[in-house]
Symmetry: C2
């Protein structure tokens, strides 16, 4: 499009004046070179392109991501989840400062937060909650892409990871709220999945979704400070016993349970000893590469399935037909499989009519 | 087809003689009426049709299932899982005899065991392992359909449940081995999902797959007899503590942990008190109907997704193209999403050429 404006510029004064008002459009080369030399503004603008819904932005974004790909993959990716109120932002501030002081390098903090789950907990919404990290010149904090399906948001986050890694960020945190499907998405894009818990009423660690516990590579109990220390430790013991009943994970490393205080900066080193120790071991035993490969395959198949499903659901008339079939289904007039067969027949009919 | 043979019978002596050797083919009406009056032979033959891969059998089977549907749904469906060696067959024998003696009625015992998982544990392979039940005239024991994808086997089992219920079986057990994906399938077709455990080395309950614990509506520890009683009770305490850390299930009822001995018939009543109590409560609070409705929807969408995926995977050239894309993916030359986009473009090209 810009090319078109360019060539008409001298002929059409209206287009010409429009062009002058815009900042010079960046080429794929500009983005890639900027990112590779670690230019934060360029990185930010490229991430904005990745997040954009506009097809013309997506064309450039995809090329930038593809060109950055050979320079990516070298970071350690840590997923961090926990219910709202678990103190994720404060913890990430403490964790981030610790790893930057301890190892140097650069840290990117991203988030997966599909809009549908937005109301349940603010994700990186307020950078000021990461007081120290937001001022640190080696930290890049980027809130979640604002909208779209979980699959779409997950794709954008994974592409943003590629860009950050190409820009030299060798640690990536991906935050999510442990209330929906998004933690499965984050689990499937990181090397270590950390579950932040707090002690609740009695023994129960409240609000945690079924299944999350079994995804965790490590569990940490926050707010182990002041009067709360004993209860946090008791919860840790219970959790350790519980996790001991689960089978050994594919990594060959049993998840540990630690207590800490993000606010008072207590026990932070121990949490990261655990994580770094885990990463060293899985790099040694091959589980690290295996996990990344199976993640790549997973996302490819997820993307294909999502596309096939979306095309089906968006085909004209399918939504109405589906509602009708669901009625027959729930009133016991049709089996699930007969209903599915009827839906697919309907879909084939559409394609036969040239609508596919 | 049979109609065709019929009309040609007097003209073509070969076809005519073939026809005479076959037993008279049953009509849909024959099957349905037989099933509705509780004829076990008819039920068995209908299940064989459901399991058949032949399209002409499937046509009849689907009609029979559809006609039985209004007479189904009235049983209590119990899923039973556990690792090989947990004593599932002996337990099912004891459980089945208990519920038949306690409540009367009729019991169907089915299994989900996709062939790929077959070698890991024999499912109902040896009816003689259910010594008492296999001789009981109110029990109908049917091994798993012998082959096919998990989705296919699950469909056949769900349809078999419909037939059994229409034949007056008011209790249905569905057995599965807790080692693959099949327990998710069984979980999604029953009203109560029972996990059978045994005590292993030390604390750990070995062999159980991640995620199963969180699906269980109740956990029972088998072989709590003789020298093993104390260890079984200790395991139960640990499991209770562990389950207490999980969030409250949608049913509003926390899973209980009990010990029993299938072989020595100890504690069987208590297990069934727990299950019947659960069923009474969820029928009262609405969770029973809610679960069944969401299962129906789940299976419809699963069937649609599976079909869409299968058509894609079976399209000419897709398998080879997928392999090539996976190579590019794993060597870091392409993102998962770019690879997926390329695959879908390829698929669209096929359809454009009239292959869709």
């Amino acid at each position: 499009m810009n090319g078109g404006v360019e060539s008409l510029g001298s002929v059409n004064p209206y287009l010409s004046s429009m062009r002058r008002k815009r900042p010079a459009a960046l080429t794929v080369n500009d983005y890639v070179e900027g990112i590779l030399r670690g230019d934060v503004t360029m990185l930010s603008r490229a991430v904005t392109l990745v997040e954009s819904m506009l097809p013309e932005h997506q064309v450039i974004a995809q090329e930038v991501v593809e060109r950055c790909l050979p320079h990516s993959g070298k970071s350690v990716r840590i997923g961090i989840t926990g219910v709202p109120g678990a103190g994720k932002s404060t913890s990430i501030d403490a964790f981030g400062m610790h790893v930057l002081e301890r190892c140097g390098g650069k840290l990117a903090v991203l988030a997966v937060d599909p809009s549908s789950e937005r109301s349940k907990g603010s994700i990186l919404g307020d950078k000021t909650r990461m007081e120290r990290l937001s001022l640190h010149h080696d930290a890049f904090i980027r809130p979640s892409a604002s909208s779209g399906s979980l699959g779409g948001v997950a794709r954008k986050t994974r592409e943003t990871i590629v860009l950050c890694e190409a820009a030299g960020y060798d640690k990536v945190f991906v935050e999510t709220v442990g209330v929906g499907q998004s933690e499965t998405a984050v689990y499937s894009m990181v090397d270590f999945f950390l579950l932040i818990q707090i002690t609740g009423a009695g023994d129960e660690l409240q609000g945690i979704k079924r299944g999350i516990m079994e995804m965790a590579d490590g569990v940490v109990i926050n707010k182990a400070d002041g009067d709360n220390i004993d209860e946090a430790r008791r919860s840790a013991v219970h959790l350790r016993n519980a996790l001991h009943l689960f089978p050994m994970p594919a990594s060959g490393i049993r998840p540990q349970v630690l207590t800490y205080s993000g606010f008072y900066d207590l026990g932070i080193k121990e949490v990261w000893d655990m994580i770094f120790d885990y990463i060293a071991k899985v790099k040694e035993n091959g589980a690290f590469d295996e996990r990344r490969n199976s993640q790549s395959r997973y996302w490819m198949h997820e993307a294909i399935d999502e596309q096939l499903r979306m095309r089906f659901m968006n085909a004209p008339g399918v939504a109405e037909k589906l509602k009708a079939c669901e009625q027959l289904l729930l009133s016991g007039k049709m089996t699930s499989f007969a209903a599915a067969a009827r839906m697919l027949e309907f879909y084939d009919g559409l394609k036969g009519n040239g609508n596919g």
